[in-house]
Symmetry: C2
Subunit: 203 residues, 2 copies
DNA sequence: ATCATATTTGCATCCATTGCAAATTTGCAC
DNA sequence: GTGCAAATTTGCAATGGATGCAAATATGAT
């Protein structure tokens, strides 16, 4: 990612970065729907058309670091430790997946503001869910490959879907209830434990 | 739903139904993105503007029966049987959730064609995932209410998220592998069993 | 038949998105 | 340095979804 060899690449990276920062700032200041692509590009002083050669849509700019996060998780699964169980590996992956990642020389965490945008704005929420689901498909594939002898594709999918489905819904509901970040985090962990133990453990 | 008292209501129902049928037919014939709202309304002989007083967006017309399905599931959860376990109830709900439901006098099943559209067209897939997630939130709330003494909100969320997350990802991957409808159905059932037994049962 | 209300319709408008060809910039060879 | 080929940016036109609004219609109760 961080291979800015020539002037060309460096300039592109700078433009991309500037577009992301301007967009996120404007989205926070005046709201996503109230911000036009023209306003974003005006703030960076490039043409509107250029925006769409960097991002395929206005939504995309909010998920600029998604691919880096996914790749980090995929790598962890592919490089799994020899005797590690599926559950241990997945817990290790999820606990690291929230760390900051570097994308195109732009290191960012999933700030509360961004998280709020993604869960609040319908267009972003839908896009985020689509990306999340695609991620789950890729992780399930990687998990199957990493444990080819023990897990068939459906079992791998069930494992990823169950764990991530439980954690995602639980954290969302925790947030919706206005709980503190610590409580939200705890909700996610409890949900994963339930997924690991099985539903019958609570019925 | 089926209370078409006056001419007014009957006419509206007829228009709504005609719009849905024309839209689905056109989407199948020439593709979702290639079909304009103007073409749909032309086929029904109403103005383009009218379309948007029946549906909030072009995507919405594909999910016309979503609300009816969700309400059926919510009702089943609310009317749970006295001594029934959470797992038994949820299995009963999921096995019935695929039955045909009646929406505005229009009874429909989730045809393969419609399913294909929803999983294929990015805009529909994203919208469908948004609706599915919203459904999960509502089901989790209902489950918590139905088992208020046994499940707190987070546990209810973990249960719904785990079960539906596993089933959805497993069926999607099964479909993607080109498996038969029977195999897809079996994949969903296996995934739910794994969610119920717990991930540790496969590691 | 008539009036109040509910619907439909016809604009005008905004904005995201895309294709295309012209203009500009960059990297490299000479 | 110059000049050329390739990569980028830009301007422009066009498409299509979505919304607000006021005029035109249709409906139903008296």
């Amino acid at each position: 990612m961080g291979d800015a060899v020539g002037l060309r690449e460096r300039k592109k990276l700078r433009t991309r970065r500037a577009l992301i920062e301007a967009a996120l700032r404007l989205f926070e200041e005046k709201g996503y729907e109230e911000t036009t692509v023209a306003e974003i590009t005006a703030a960076v002083d490039v043409s509107t058309r250029t925006f769409f050669s960097y991002f395929t849509s206005k939504e995309d700019v909010v998920f600029f670091d998604g691919e880096a996060r996914v790749e980090a998780a995929l790598k962890m699964i592919a490089d799994r430790r020899p005797a590690e169980t599926v559950v241990d590996l997945l817990l290790r992956v999820t606990s690291h997946s929230l760390d900051a990642v570097t994308d195109a020389d732009l290191t960012v965490e999933l700030t509360p503001a961004r998280r709020h945008l993604i869960t609040t704005v319908p267009a972003l929420r839908a896009r985020g869910l689509d990306l999340l689901f695609e991620t789950q498909q890729r992780l399930a594939g990687a998990l199957h490959r990493a444990y080819a002898d023990e897990l068939d594709p459906i079992e791998a999918a069930a494992a990823i879907g169950s764990l991530m489905g439980a954690a995602h819904l639980a954290t969302t509901i925790s947030m919706e209830r206005g709980e503190t970040p610590e409580q939200v985090w705890a909700a996610g962990r409890r949900a994963m434990e339930i997924a690991i133990r099985g539903l019958s453990s609570i019925g």
